[in-house]
Symmetry: C2
């Protein structure tokens, strides 16, 4: 496995692999890998690709009061895990390599990015779509793999790829969880032990809400209220949002008569966690 910091070098290697007939997969990450990322890699490997993993903590997608500076980083550990999982090449550019001059160009997806995480993080998705566009142009993958934990991000990237005709396939990969149900996240390391225990309420409330829908509940407000109550009663978590939305376009349904995503964001101290669950009806 190679680790490359320069765009020009990355391009040369990828072009060589393409010439040999390889299909290129991109797994974009911000590093500090966990089993969620590694599942993306394994999926990409299983699909027969040459797997490029980007590790780049992208300043553009952090708000001014967010955790860009303290976002966890550990390249040595990441490289070991990535290699074991089957990554062929890590692309690990510096901020200067990615943004050598003042960046004036942004890629923006309207509507899909306005709700949910877009409300408390108004410039976040613009930062994501812009850096993902750059990575797509740098790596020129045939396929790109995104985890469904960031379900809104996945929908936005899918929309961007369709709207702008990016010549690649976006592949979603299901959430990976700890044994007790907590969705894996690089930010979990920030949780104090009590918070870590309390945070299990997120996945638990999603599972119970799913059960309610499967049992016939169709009222959006009932589902949302159920989850809110449970989180408030069983944890110190501060709710950012709990929302039932169309799993296709994030529009809020009148009643639940299509596949929906139940999505939530909750803060434990300064650590903001997200989770979601797709319910087919």
């Amino acid at each position: 496995m190679e680790i490359v910091e320069r765009i020009s070098e990355l391009r040369k290697i990828v072009a060589g692999e393409k010439k040999k007939g390889a299909r290129i997969a991109l797994v974009p990450t911000m590093g500090y890998l966990h089993r969620g990322h590694l599942t993306l890699v394994k999926q990409a490997k299983q699909d027969g690709n040459y797997v490029v993993m980007s590790i780049f903590v992208n300043p553009l997608q952090f708000g001014p009061n967010e955790d860009f500076a303290r976002y966890p980083r550990d390249l040595e550990r990441d490289a070991k895990l990535a290699e074991e999982a089957g990554v062929d090449l890590i692309f690990h550019p510096s901020v200067e390599e990615m943004y050598p001059q003042q960046n004036r160009t942004t890629v923006q997806v309207s509507e899909l990015g306005d709700a949910l995480c877009g409300l408390s993080r108004p410039t976040h998705f613009r930062g994501v779509t812009t850096v993902v566009s750059k990575l797509f142009h740098i790596v020129q993958p045939d396929r790109a793999y995104f985890g469904q934990k960031d379900f809104q991000q996945y929908l936005i990237i899918r929309q961007m790829v369709r709207d702008l005709n990016f010549p690649l396939e976006v592949i979603p990969v299901p959430i990976v969880r700890e044994e007790d149900g907590l969705a894996l996240s690089s930010r979990n390391v920030f949780l104090a032990p009590e918070q870590r225990q309390e945070a299990v309420v997120l996945s638990k409330s999603l599972i119970e809400a799913e059960k309610l829908i499967k049992q016939g509940e169709r009222r959006v407000d009932r589902i949302e209220a159920y989850i809110r109550n449970k989180i408030t009663q069983e944890s110190s978590g501060e709710i950012d949002y709990v929302e039932v939305r169309s799993a296709e376009n994030l529009v809020k349904p009148e009643v639940i008569n299509e596949s929906v995503v139940i999505a939530l964001a909750v803060k434990f101290g300064t650590t903001r966690l997200i989770d979601n669950c797709i319910v087919e009806v």
Copy 2:
């Protein structure tokens, strides 16, 4: 020469050419070709490329009160001219092919697009950068050719390509003019005979302004006033703007001590013409 309307077909043909080792050039146009467009083609051909010309009148870059509906179209004539000039393939998609679903994604370049044509056409450049991004992803050219008549557009595209790491080269081609100096434009056909005669004042005033700078005039307001006066006195044209700007980034200089573009837009009746001149100092 082939004419292709479908994205999938275009991609197949281009992939085949690439496999044979061809370098792909894109000449994006809105059709109704004139010698300006054909000069782009000849340049692209001379550089040894397989030349794809797109002909697409892009609704996204026209404002609600602009001339999208009446923009001149004549594919048969265009095809003949394109073939003679050396185009290998015309990509002529329908609006539905380019925008099959509601388009939610836009690509936007800040600052460069705010002045000059961006003032009277506030959504124009966003429409241009978005459709050009789409065309870049569809055709995947190695090089793309843009005329310098739309100098602001050229700078914006160049900035977009740099910022987003599009894997291609943007090549500017000088303005082509009628014998009396009028810059070629598909919109020239809308000029009444008197307007056509009057419109020569645009290039004349640019030439004289260039001469003033070469003779030592360094005051921006003097140059702009000179051109405004000349146009007002010698024509019925209604000035949209006359501006001296940095040829690198369109910032207005205090005094002229770097290469500048003198750019102008003037309306003759309902027909808006643009022209410009780069002056190296």
